[in-house]
Symmetry: C2
Subunit: 365 residues, 2 copies
């Protein structure tokens, strides 16, 4: 049951964290059990912290079914720094790399990729305002590319790559920032997965990289900053320098919470069910609409529009009055968006639908 | 008065945080006042967070007396990523850059600088095991260098650059990680200052950059990852991507705490006095010794050695038994080290000296 003093936070990230996790973090904040100090003050070379990072990694490996031949890295700089790291680790400077552009972050990833590689765009869904996910077949992917990159869940447009791209022998790299742990991701279908933490893995300020060890166990161009070097991160257990200890601790709590609550399969079912209810309402509504091709719809980010900007503003105001915040669409597209990550309480989606129904029935608050 | 359940944490970083700050963070952790959600869940585009980051910056500007023509940037990746960022922002690829090597982190900074620049070492105190700080005169600094770099406080060796290097017209860059806010730094003597947060600015996972705007307001080589680009960070108010929100919030609390407790001058006095007491005891001791030239001694990191490894182990065990942790020297040098940052309670240094006295008198626990 959600705490009444807390709002329903539909933020796209940083986003809602389960109340149990917050309460645990609050409890541990002054003195971490057995350490005599806060986790915020703990030396990263201490036994207590080594246990925290080891447990976090082990828990993530269990819930995502990550095989031993994949490394798990905790990196700083968010997913945006990984746009660069992927290119600089997997490609030689000037080497070909392939990208699909299905929204703003894949576009940004391509721009970063271009700084280092000869990055080519092999698919683009901007023709229909990013409302669908293209199919990728092996013949579309240049087989001399160092990798093929997608942003697997497009937070702004509310789409997800549910179908696996066929890349042939080209390594497949996916940014799963806004669906990791919210949808079942088959790790072995990927060569490298990365994700910013601030959706389903805790506070902002960290990215998790899951990569085939043989892909990243290589000497790379010496010009690349050491903090972007996957092999260095892997060889140093994600602690070449002082890691973002609190982020790793919080991620560990989030992994443990998923594990305790039925694992990623249970998360996906819950996310699917509440998104389905919302989409069903939208599809039958005359006021709200969603432009995304049904088979490509995200179950974590549901976008919707209203007929006019005045309607949008009035609806957002009414929802806010009912304790629902961050429903405004991304500043680049407008409209509305409900981001429903694992931490969002069960009561939130029904409350949103009830608000939409009332609004459609002419109610204004 | 220190809480009895908490140890005295002499960690070099992440390090002790004032109890008032921890208690405030703990209080706000479940619901940040007025936001209806935790600071961990807050959208970085929200008014609440904008207020947090604006207040943090304003507070830092006050306590460090940072003029308007200097930018304040909150960056990810720790000081190590700044080793690379400094080079990639201030120098063209292959351009000359000058470094002084006075310990391990300046050596690492030089190594990172070499990836991008023609980095030359113009001073090196390894001849006396980094126990002193060299003087830098203008004739030593190649005047065509893009910058001159020092690590201003050498955490591992316990030395500080108290005298300003004379660099002529070459921009002066200093990593002040382990003395920022613990010693009075004259910002206007520098062209760029950076510091990892995990000493006097809160938890690990962030670096603060303070730079002359005219130095960083420039187009740089397009190959440089956007997350390392100072101009992009400056033009986007440190929010080109999702920033490390909790780290910024905690840094703001730390800045406010310094301000409330007399500012940096008061911090320096307190650090100076307790370090002086410790050095005085060591200098008169037959068991403990410190090799650093007195005029170059750090007031935040006090190193000391004992005659044998057995003595060292016995002393560390005895200190631990009395609730003093992380007194072991850095794994690269051994011996002991007391890092005494702003967050360390007043009772800690006297307790350490008492323990040293008892040990020297032959007591074993």
């Amino acid at each position: 049951m959600a705490n009444k003093e807390r709002v329903f936070n539909f933020s796209a990230g940083p986003s809602a964290i389960p109340e149990d996790v917050l309460l645990q973090a609050q409890k541990d904040l002054f003195i971490y059990p057995g350490a005599g100090c806060s986790v915020l003050e703990m030396s990263h070379r201490s036994a207590s912290f080594q246990e925290i990072i080891d447990n976090a990694e082990a828990s993530l490996r269990r819930i995502m079914d990550i095989p031993d031949d994949y490394a798990v890295l905790f990196m700083q700089g968010g997913a945006t720094l990984q746009f660069s790291a992927v290119a600089m680790n997997l490609a030689k400077q000037g080497q070909k790399a392939a990208y699909a552009v299905t929204g703003q972050f894949s576009k940004k990833a391509l721009a970063e990729g271009k700084r280092w590689t000869d990055a080519v765009k092999i698919a683009d869904s901007s023709d229909k305002n990013f409302s669908y996910i293209p199919d990728i077949t092996e013949d579309m992917v240049p087989q001399d590319a160092a990798y093929f990159h997608i942003c697997a869940n497009n937070t702004i447009y509310g789409t997800t790559w549910w179908r696996k791209p066929e890349t042939g022998k080209v390594p497949f790299v996916a940014d799963w920032s806004s669906a990791i742990l919210g949808a079942q991701i088959k790790v072995i279908d990927h060569d490298l997965i990365y994700a910013g933490a601030q959706k389903n893995m805790g506070p902002s300020g960290m990215a998790v990289v899951i990569a085939k060890k043989e892909l990243i166990d290589r000497e790379i161009d010496p010009v690349v900053p050491i903090m972007l070097n996957y092999k260095v991160a892997m060889d140093n257990g994600s602690m070449y320098n002082t890691p973002p200890c609190f982020s790793i601790y919080m991620a560990g709590l989030m992994f443990g919470w998923v594990e305790k609550n039925g694992g990623v399969a249970a998360m996906e079912k819950r996310n699917h069910d509440r998104a389905a209810a919302l989409y069903e309402y939208i599809d039958n509504s005359k006021t709200f609409s969603n432009p995304v091709r049904p088979c490509d719809r995200s179950i974590t980010n549901v976008t919707f529009t209203l007929p006019t900007q005045e309607d949008t503003d009035a609806f957002l105001k009414m929802a806010k009055g009912r304790g629902m915040i961050n429903l405004k669409g991304h500043r680049s597209v407008g409209g509305c968006r409900a981001s429903m990550y694992n931490g969002l309480p069960d009561e939130a989606a029904p409350a949103l639908i009830a608000c939409m129904k009332d609004f459609e029935a002419g109610k204004r608050e």
